[in-house]
Symmetry: C2
Subunit: 451 residues, 2 copies
């Protein structure tokens, strides 16, 4: 593993203590097998993605280069799993003011991941892009996500009006081949289309074409991303929790959940890793928040993920974290080495802060991370820390796949279906009814009456 996984703050004398790993060895072995025996099968096709063939990757890289050459504005239309992986990786690998850089410093297209249908946001987008040099990657696995399709309908009309039949070369579609409205439309219009495997759920799809196509257009090293993901995949095949950090983390999180800690706080100390927290929150929330267990019993299970950013949220949330209720477990994420560290000079007018000078912002950031972890420990709350060597493709691939294995193991510990999301149907149907979609007449009354 490239990263360090430090569990020293995770065991508590009055919580989960080190002996529990031994005591629960059978339970751990069962959860382990449940995930590992199903690798590559059913909804665990994502386990195979890091082993994608060089040929297939080279094709994507070639396509990405071709698009990048003629593109100044890359726009991704997608929501949830079709957006969060791309946002997490792009925010980590791009300059933090990427879109504001001049082309010669940026050396790749500007990026807009449009994962909402707010009209102000859509109007704002058209204020800053130029359709002639824009490229749209439209992503929905089912091919029937209303939000993404409405964006698609808006853009097709504008592209056609502006560019005529050439609009086609400005769109790449990523969807399930042979299924859904988007696939049919893309076929009819002759749009370039990439597929998503049937057994790759949206929130587990970052290393499918969903993420790889935009990453290739942005010139990231997608092979290094996969390499990092393979590292954690291999480590996850080790049945010993002490050699398998995703298994150990999942065990701890779910044991603490059973002890009433219904909140999982994830707190990266890095602006570049800020959106890996959002990626985690979708995985953790949508995978583990389930009404029924494997036996069909009502359990209304789930641990609510909360994202925080260090040090920023020390000045917003740490008061609650230290003095508030014992309802949380914390995942801290740190970075050892920064590409650009900044030294703090002395200032004679601020002589009582001279102790800061000679240090760097990176040192201050990491001292505050350690201090906050100590404060959380001191207040009796469990935590563990993931420490990345640096922020690059390989470390990121490892981090995102760590979260995915942690989630898969956690679902097995909880005995729920990690990979579905039946709870979002109500809202979809209610929306269709409000918009008078044929076939949904009167359904609103039925929906609210039957409960």
């Amino acid at each position: 593993m490239k990263s360090e996984y430090d569990f020293s703050g995770a065991f508590l004398s009055d919580g989960v203590h080190e002996d529990c790993l031994k005591k629960d060895s059978r339970k751990i072995a069962d959860a382990f097998s449940h995930v590992i025996d199903n690798m590559g099968k059913g909804w665990q096709e994502w386990c195979n993605l890091p082993y994608c063939s060089e040929n297939e990757l080279d094709e994507i890289i070639k396509y990405g280069k071709k698009v990048a050459e003629k593109t100044e504005y890359l726009v991704v239309f997608g929501i949830g799993g079709s957006a969060l992986g791309t946002i997490a990786v792009a925010n980590a690998l791009n300059h933090l003011h990427h879109n504001e850089l001049a082309r010669d410093k940026r050396q790749k297209p500007k990026l807009y991941v449009e994962d909402n249908i707010d009209p102000e946001r859509m109007a704002s987008l058209f204020d800053v892009i130029d359709l002639e040099t824009a490229h749209f990657n439209v992503i929905t696995k089912s091919g029937s996500t209303s939000e993404t399709l409405s964006q698609f309908m808006i853009v097709i009309k504008r592209l056609r009006d502006a560019l005529g039949d050439d609009f086609k070369s400005h769109i790449t579609v990523t969807t399930t081949i042979g299924k859904g409205s988007l696939y049919r439309a893309a076929s009819e219009m002759g749009l370039k289309t990439f597929g998503i495997g049937e057994g790759v759920g949206g929130r587990f799809s970052v290393l499918s074409a969903v993420g790889l196509v935009p990453f290739a257009i942005l010139g990231y090293d997608i092979k290094a991303l996969l390499k990092g993901a393979r590292t954690v995949t291999e480590a996850s095949k080790n049945p010993s929790p002490n050699e398998n950090p995703a298994l150990k983390a999942a065990y701890l999180m779910t044991e603490y959940l059973k002890q009433g800690k219904n909140i999982s706080v994830i707190m990266p100390y890095s602006d570049k890793l800020k959106y890996t927290a959002d990626f985690y929150c979708q995985l953790w929330g949508e995978s583990l928040g389930k009404a029924l267990n494997w036996s069909g019993e009502k359990v209304n299970c789930g641990q609510t993920p909360v994202k925080a950013l260090g040090v920023t949220d020390q000045h917003s949330q740490v008061q609650l974290y230290t003095e508030g209720p014992f309802d949380k477990i914390f995942t801290f994420i740190g970075v050892k080495n920064f590409d650009n560290d900044v030294g703090i000079p002395s200032c004679s007018a601020l002589r009582d802060y001279d102790f800061l000078s000679g240090h760097t912002l990176g040192e201050l950031l990491n001292c505050e991370r350690k201090a906050t972890q100590l404060a959380v420990s001191d207040s009796g709350k469990p935590s563990f820390t993931i420490l990345l060597d640096k922020v690059d493709e390989e470390n990121l691939g490892e981090l995102l796949y760590f979260f995915m294995y942690e989630t898969a193991f956690a679902g097995a510990f909880l005995g729920i279906n990690t990979f579905d999301q039946p709870g979002v149907e109500f809202g979809k149907k209610a929306t269709f009814a409000m918009l008078n979609r044929p076939g949904y007449e009167g359904i609103l009354e039925n929906l609210t009456k039957k409960h």
Copy 2:
């Protein structure tokens, strides 16, 4: 009130029902008095801010205009309460791609609110700004926030190196007059300084100079912001919860907290209002997360705020919200009228989605908000909705002050000190010790030993 406050989803037959308002009238009256009797006193000086004199406001407006004329890059150095109000308001009132707009479309400085010390972020900032046309507003109430002072030290050196003695005209300091290291340094260097009232805590300071100075530089209508805040202030003086939405909301939130709902989800359906959720999260987390009650008894109180964005997080968190545990209460925020709505055209290749065409994105967004509120209700969870007429200064002033009164009333219902934050001292001291600040030698060992 400009906004609508809809509590129809907030009462549950097996939770807090409408009768409780009558039953608990004494408790409600006590909490009401605790806040209202102290308006303008002690730590409730923020109640006075919306009544600031026209003269004082005109001074700030004049200063803002003067700075704006020579400024292309406005940089705010501040963290927590010195940043979150500014971020919330600026994100709501600026174009959503403000910094990417050309000057003639933007017509005001670009904005950077630097509320973290990540070195990559500081290095990125210097890549996109030009010191000659940059202006720095350095904000810390205590004048001793390490993060802000370290940023200040870095910038002073760079400004001096680039501009010589003229560096002074590029800095505005906002801090407590007569107190702290920053005030002393600003006086020694002769920097323009605005004060913050002693009884205005950071998280309640958005309508003090903390927010008003950057808002004036950005050309917002600060008088309209104050007007909105006055509206909710006046409504908050009404002892009847049915005429006082902040009191009613606080009662509901704290009653549900006592019934085990330890999570408060806030979900604006508007990209422009996205960061009002962060503002709320600091208020709610830091004010109510307290170890001790008024009698000094250990209560480890607090309700954890969770921010979500509609519709985006429907594809990330709503599965958990509907099928997961009964541990949440929801605040939805909607917007009735958008300045820029976008119509959805039809697309022959997507004929099965023709039901979307003829609608606008704004309609789709609001249908999904209502559908999600219904889904949450249907799954047995309480919620209420704040519906803004539109996103402008007056509506924003009302929303932010609504949160502040809701928080103040909630603290009174819980019987805790809403306005302090003793739990962050440990982390500060531990950081100082790690950085070898004189006077903190050996303190780390003591800190961790004594507990």
